[in-house]
Symmetry: C2
Subunit: 707 residues, 2 copies
C-alpha cells in the first residue's frame, strides 16, 4: 500500500493542515504557459474558481503566466507562501522541497509522478524529499496525486487539475484513487448536492487519509464524509481516527477490490499486495463506518445526509400520489430492515377529514394524483406528530393538473422544522420549465430528491443504518484475570517463528488464559497412559505425540472413545510399536461426545492485529462456509453478534428437541482467545477445532497454535 | 388482480392492435376546453407531439377545442375513426361503447375510472360495456388507464395525459402501474435512450399485458422490452406469449410486492390479493425474462440492450484510462458471474508496441490518462480480435489534456462494427461544452454511456444474463409411463375437496406414478400387523390409522424402528388399547434409516399450475430454510437445477466420508410428482417428508396429499 513509510509519524493536527486546505497564498512550482499542461491548468482552475488568495506562478523563463506575474524562483516571491504545488520532474523534487523548507512554506502538493509507484529509484527519491520535508517541518500531500479543493467562499481554493467546479456544500470527499474521487465529485455536482472539501492524495507519503479524515472531523462545515479506498496503509491509525470521527458525523465509504480479480486490478495500479482483504470491511464495521458496494448508491445517500436529521428508529411513514412507486419503495425499505407501521386511530381520523374522498388512508397514505398542497401537508403533519413514525418517505409525481409548486412549498415548510428525516422520490420531467420551478423549491428547501423509488428508499435506508451505528456501542473489551506469567514462559520458550506449539504447551497456554479445555495429560509410557486415563475418567482420546508425527490423524495416531483400561493399553501399545519414535509421548484427553461441534480460529494481520473467526463445525463449515469474522480485540457485544450472525444461529438454541448450548461459555472463550492474541501479537494462527459446546459449558477439545 | 374477466378471451392478434398503436384518426370523447383537464391535455399532447393523423374532439357544446373543429357526437364525424379516447363519467361508458361499435371504431382507450377498482357497481359497469364491445368487436384498452404512445415519426401518436415526450428509439414499455410506467419512460428520456411504444393499461379488462407483449414481439422496431407489473392476471396466457417473445428479444422486467409489506401496498392500490407471490418470479425464470429488483438498474440496462449485440460468453476485456474505476468495475463484473481473462501473448505484443510506455498491459488494459484516440483504438482492436474475449468494458475519463473527441470517434468506429458488445463508463462534466461534444459523438455512435463503473458493469452483466437466457434450454417435460387408470380411480373416489387422502391411497397413488415408496401394508388387526411386518422385513414403522387420529405422532400413534415380532405385537396392542377406535387400522412400513433426509412439496396456484418444492430435510429446512421452487411441469434440466441450487448442494455429493446420494433417482421423483400434479390439477397440496435418499436409490417414506 502507499504511504507505508509514515507509519510512525505523529498524527498531523487539524491546525497544521489549515495551510493545505485554507491557503492564503499558493506557489505553482512548474507553472507553464502551455495550454492543457498541468502547470497551466492548475492556475487556470484557481482563477476560474475565484481563489481569494495570492497566486505565484514559478517559472525560470516566463515573466507572466495566464496574465499573472511569474517569478523565477520561490525566493523571488516577497510575501509568505502557505502552499506550493510541485509539478516538475521527480528528480528535481528533493531540491525543491529543500527550497520550500528554507522559504518557510508549510505545505506542498506534489502532483508529479515518478516516486514510490515507480520502483526502487522512485522509492529512494520519495524518501529523500520526505527526509528534507521533515527537517523543515514541511507537510507533503502526494506525490503522484491530484490535490485538494476547498469550496468555502472565503477561500475557493481549487488546487487540482480536474474539471468539475462544485458548489459549496456540506459533504467532504477523500479518495485514494483520483479517478474515483473525481467522478464522485462530479456525481455530487450533477445531483446538486454541494461539496465542502475534496482531497485525493495519491502515494500519501506524509499526509494520510486518516489525517484528512481527522481534519474533516474537526471541520464544522463538514456534515458528512465520503471515503473511497482500495486498502489501508496504517489501519491502526485509521481506526483510532475514524472511531472518533464516525461518532460525530457519518462517514460513507467504499472499498473496492472485494473480489479476487478486483483486488488484482487494484494491485496492478497501486503496487499493493493482491489478495481479497476482508479486514478493511471489519475495520469499517468496528469503527462505525457506513460501507457501500455501489458508488452511485453512496453518492445518492450523501444527499440525504447533507440535509436531513438521523431517524430515531426504523419506522417509516409513506406519502404517495401514485400507487406503484409506493409498492416499490415499500419493498426496498423493508429489505433495508425498516418497518411501515399502521397509523394510530387519531391519525386516521385526521386524515379522513383532510384527504380527498378517493385517497387511501393508511400507511402508505395515497393522497392520489389530484391531491394538492393541503393534502400533502395534512399527511406530513400527521406523520410528524405520530409517535410510532421515525421518518417520512414521499412519492411525488408532478401530475399536470395540480399546483405542484404548492405541494413543494408545503413539503419544504415541514422539512424546515427538521423534526424527522424526509426523503422524496420526485418523479417529473425536468426539461419542462414548470417543473424546474417545483424542483428548485424542493432543492432550495433542502429536500433530498431522487428519480427512482428504490434509489430514494436506499438513501433513507442509509440514514437508518447510521442511526444503528450511533446506537451500536460495542463497549470495551473485557480484561479477564489470567495467569500471564505462565503464558509468558510458554511463549518465551518458543523462540522459533513459524512453528506450532506442542500439544501440551497449547493446552497449558489456553488454561493459563482460563479457556476451558477437555482434561488432558501428557505421559511417556503405556503404563502412565493407563494411569492418566483413570485419573481423567473414561472414555478418553489417545494421541501419539512426536516431532515426526505431523498428520497424526492420517497416520493412525489418534484413537477416540477408549472406554476402559484395556482399550488404552491395547491402542497405546499398537501406537508405540507402529511409530517407534524415541521422543514418542502419549497425549490422553477426556472424550466428550454429544455436544454441538463449534470452531474458532485466529489469524494475524500485519500492522493491524488478529482476525477472530467463529462458526459451527462439521458439515456447516465444510458445506455452507457458515463462519463469521471480527477484528481483535473482541468485546462481549461483538462476541454475541458473532453467535447471532451465523446463518445456522438457530442451531445454537437447539432444534428438533436437541438442547441448546451455553452461549455465555462460548462468547467467553471467544473473548479470552481475543485477549490472548492481543497480549501476544506474535501468535500467527490458532485453530480451535472443535470447540464442543453443551447445555452447561463449552470446552476446547482440539487446538493448534502457530507462533 | 385486474382483468381476471378476460381469461377465456382469444388472444388478440398483432394486426388487430394496429388500430390502437397506429391509429390514422382519433376521437376524444369527453374533449374539454378546460385547461389541465384530461380531455384537454390529451388533445394538447397529440398536437404538441405532432400526431400525423386526424383528431376529432367530441363535445356536445363546443364548436372547437384548442383550435380544432369539435363534433357533438362521433356520428357527426364524416370519416372513419380508428381509435377513441373515452374520458366521460363511468356510468355513460356502456352507451358510448355501443355508439363506438355502431360507428365502426376498432379500439377505445378508456381513461375514465370508476370500474372494477371501485366495488360491485363498477364491476357491473365494466361487464356491461365489455359485453357491448365484444358484440361489435371493439377492442378496449383500460379502463382506469393512461393510454399508449407510439413514437414512430409516421404516427407520433401520444394517446396519454402524461408529460414526457420521448424521442423515437428501440425500447418499448408496458406497465401495469401508470405511475411506474411514466417514470420509466422519463428515465429513458433522461438517459437519452429513446423509446418505441409505451402502454399502461390500468384495469386491463380486454387488451392484456400479454396482448401488448405479443404486439411488441411482432414489432420489428422494438429491440428490447421493459415490463413492470405487480402480479399477473392470466399467468398461463402470459407464459405462452413471453416464452415466444423472450427468445426473439430481451424482456427486462420487474415485479414489485416482493416483501409482505410491499405486497400489501400493492393490494391496497390494485385491489388484488395480498401475499408474497413467488410464482411470478418463477414464471419469469421459466420463460426467460430478465428480472430486476431495482428499476433504475433496469432502465440503465435497457440502454445497452437498445444498441449492443448480445455477448457470446462471460469473458470481458477492460480498457481504462484511470485505475480506480477499473477496480470497481472488475468487482461488479465478477460478482455478475463474468471473467476478466488474461490476454494472449499476441495481444500483449501488439499492445506493447502501440501503447504509451507508462500504460499497464494486461486485462484491464490501462492506457493511462494521457492515452489518446490511437491508444484506445489499438486496445479496442486487440480485444475485438481476441478469441477469449466476449465483450468490452471501457472506463473513459475525459482528461483535460487529451483529445477526447478523437477517443470517442475511435470507440464509435469500432462499435459500429458490432463485433462484440461495448459498454462505456464515461466520466465527465456534462456542463462543459467541450465534453458535451465528446458525449454526443458517443451517443450518436450508439455507445451506451454510464456515469458510474458499477452501473455500467451491471448493464453489461444484464447483457450477459440474456446470453444465458438464450442458451438455457430447459427442454420439454418427460412423460413417464404410469398407471393412469389406477390413479383415476383413486382420485375419482375422493369427491370431497379440501380433504387429505388416506395413507393407503397416498402410497397407491404414488406407486401408480412410479414413485418409489417404502414398502407398506395397511391391516386391521394386531396379528395381521405382525404378519405384514414379517413380509416387509424388519425393522418397521408402525402407525395407528383412524379418522379421529389427525396428529398421530403427537398422540403416540407412530413407532419407529420396531425390530422383531415381539416389538410389533407389544406396540400394536398398546395402540389398540389406547385409541380404542372402531375404525382403527395399522399402517406398517419398512423403516429405512441412514439415508439423506430430503423433502419435497407441491402447492396449487390458482390459474397457473403447481409450485414444486425441493430441499434437504431436518435441520436444513428448519434452521436454514434451504429449499428451492420451480413451476410445474418440471423438466429434467429444471430438476437438476433444483438439486444444484440449494445452498447445501454439496451435501448431496457426500462430505466427510459420507456417501453421496443417487441424484438421478431424486430428479426422477421430482419429475414424476410434477407429471402427477399436472395430470390432476385438483391436487392442492403434497408433502413428501421425508424422501430418504441413498447411494443407489431414493424412496418417499412419508407423504400427505390434499385434494
Amino acid at each position: 500500500m502507499n504511504g507505508a513509510v509514515n507509519m510512525n509519524d505523529p498524527k498531523i493536527s487539524a491546525k497544521e493542515l489549515d495551510s493545505l486546505f485554507k491557503p492564503k497564498s499558493i506557489a505553482i512550482i512548474g507553472a507553464s504557459s502551455k495550454d492543457l499542461s498541468i502547470g497551466n491548468v492548475i492556475i487556470k482552475n484557481l482563477v476560474h474558481y475565484g481563489y481569494t488568495g495570492k497566486i505565484y506562478p514559478i517559472n525560470p523563463k516566463e515573466p507572466e503566466i495566464r496574465g499573472i506575474k511569474a517569478y523565477p524562483t520561490i525566493f523571488d516571491v516577497e510575501g509568505e507562501i502557505d502552499l506550493a504545488h510541485v509539478i516538475i520532474p521527480s528528480k528535481f523534487v528533493p531540491q525543491i522541497i529543500e527550497d520550500c523548507g528554507k522559504k518557510g512554506i508549510k505545505s506542498v502538493i506534489i502532483n508529479s509522478a515518478g516516486f514510490s509507484e515507480n520502483g526502487d529509484e522512485g522509492i529512494a527519491l520519495q524518501k529523500a524529499f520526505l527526509d528534507t520535508a521533515k527537517k523543515y517541518g514541511v507537510r507533503v500531500f502526494g506525490p503522484n496525486c491530484q490535490g485538494i479543493i476547498n469550496t468555502d467562499p472565503q477561500y475557493k481554493a481549487y488546487c487540482d487539475f480536474t474539471f468539475t467546479f462544485p458548489e459549496p456544500g456540506a459533504v467532504s470527499i477523500v479518495a485514494l484513487s483520483g479517478g474515483v474521487g473525481a467522478f464522485i465529485m462530479q456525481s455530487l455536482f450533477d445531483l446538486e448536492i454541494g461539496m465542502r472539501y475534496y482531497a485525493s492524495n495519491g502515494n500519501a507519503c506524509d499526509i494520510s487519509i486518516s489525517d484528512v479524515l481527522n481534519y474533516y472531523g474537526e471541520d464544522e462545515g463538514t456534515k458528512a464524509i465520503i471515503l473511497y479506498t482500495e486498502g489501508l496503509s496504517n489501519p491502526l491509525e485509521f481506526m483510532e481516527v475514524v472511531k472518533r470521527v464516525a461518532k460525530k458525523k457519518p462517514i460513507l465509504c467504499m472499498k473496492s477490490g472485494r473480489t479476487e480479480e478486483g483486488s488484482k486490478a487494484a494491485a496492478s495500479h497501486t503496487g499493493s499486495l493482491a489478495g481479497v482483504d476482508i479486514s478493511t470491511e471489519l475495520i469499517f464495521e468496528k469503527t462505525g463506518l457506513l460501507s457501500f458496494t455501489n458508488e452511485e448508491e453512496m453518492c445518492q445517500a450523501s444527499m440525504a445526509f447533507s440535509t436531513q436529521p438521523i431517524p430515531k428508529g426504523n419506522r417509516v411513514g409513506i406519502i404517495t400520489n401514485t400507487g406503484g412507486p409506493a409498492v416499490i419503495a415499500t419493498d426496498e425499505l423493508v429489505s433495508a430492515g425498516m418497518q411501515i407501521p399502521a397509523l394510530s386511530e387519531r391519525a386516521i381520523n385526521i386524515l379522513k377529514q383532510t384527504q380527498l374522498p378517493e385517497a387511501t388512508i393508511g400507511n402508505p397514505i395515497d393522497v392520489v394524483a389530484t391531491g394538492g398542497g393541503s393534502h400533502f401537508r395534512s399527511a406530513l403533519d400527521v406523520l410528524m406528530d405520530e409517535e410510532t413514525i421515525d421518518s417520512v418517505f414521499i412519492n411525488f409525481v408532478t401530475a399536470p393538473f395540480t399546483d405542484t409548486d404548492e405541494v413543494a412549498r408545503n413539503i419544504v415548510e415541514v422539512n424546515a422544522k427538521r423534526i424527522k428525516p424526509i426523503v422524496c422520490n420526485f418523479m417529473t420531467n425536468m426539461s419542462l420549465e414548470r417543473f424546474q420551478v417545483t424542483a428548485k423549491i424542493l432543492k432550495d428547501g433542502g429536500v433530498p430528491c431522487y428519480s427512482f423509488p428504490t434509489t430514494a428508499a436506499k438513501a433513507l435506508g442509509a440514514l437508518y443504518r447510521y442511526h444503528k451505528v450511533q446506537n451500536r456501542n460495542i463497549g470495551e473489551p473485557k480484561t479477564f484475570s489470567v495467569d500471564k506469567s505462565k503464558a509468558d514462559s510458554i511463549i518465551s520458550t518458543n523462540k522459533n517463528i513459524d512453528t506450532f506449539l506442542s500439544s501440551d504447551k497449547v493446552y497449558e497456554l489456553l488454561s493459563a488464559y482460563g479457556i476451558p479445555v477437555a482434561d488432558w495429560r501428557l505421559v511417556n509410557s503405556v503404563d502412565d497412559a493407563i494411569k492418566a486415563a483413570k485419573e481423567i475418567g473414561f472414555p478418553v482420546v489417545l494421541k501419539a505425540d512426536a516431532a515426526s508425527l505431523v498428520h497424526k490423524s492420517d497416520m493412525g495416531g489418534v484413537a477416540i472413545n477408549l472406554k476402559n483400561e484395556d482399550d488404552v493399553k491395547r491402542v497405546a501399545t499398537e501406537m508405540k510399536n507402529k511409530f517407534n519414535a524415541s521422543d514418542l509421548k502419549f497425549f490422553i484427553q477426556k472424550f466428550m461426545p454429544g455436544g454441538r461441534e463449534l470452531i474458532g480460529g485466529v489469524s494475524a494481520k500485519k500492522d493491524l492485529g488478529h482476525l477472530i473467526m467463529f462458526g459451527i463445525g462439521g458439515i456447516y463449515v465444510e458445506v455452507l462456509k457458515d463462519v463469521v469474522f471480527k477484528l481483535s480485540p473482541v468485546t462481549q457485544v461483538e462476541a454475541n453478534e458473532m453467535l447471532s450472525s451465523i446463518k445456522a444461529t438457530k442451531l445454537l438454541d437447539g432444534v428438533r428437541g436437541e438442547k441448546g448450548i451455553n452461549k455465555k461459555s462460548v462468547t467467553e472463550i471467544i473473548q479470552r482467545i481475543s485477549q490472548l492474541v492481543t497480549d501476544y501479537p506474535q501468535i500467527q494462527e490458532m485453530d480451535l477445532n472443535p470447540i464442543m459446546a453443551f447445555e452447561d459449558k463449552a470446552f476446547v477439545v482440539d487446538a493448534r497454535i502457530k507462533i
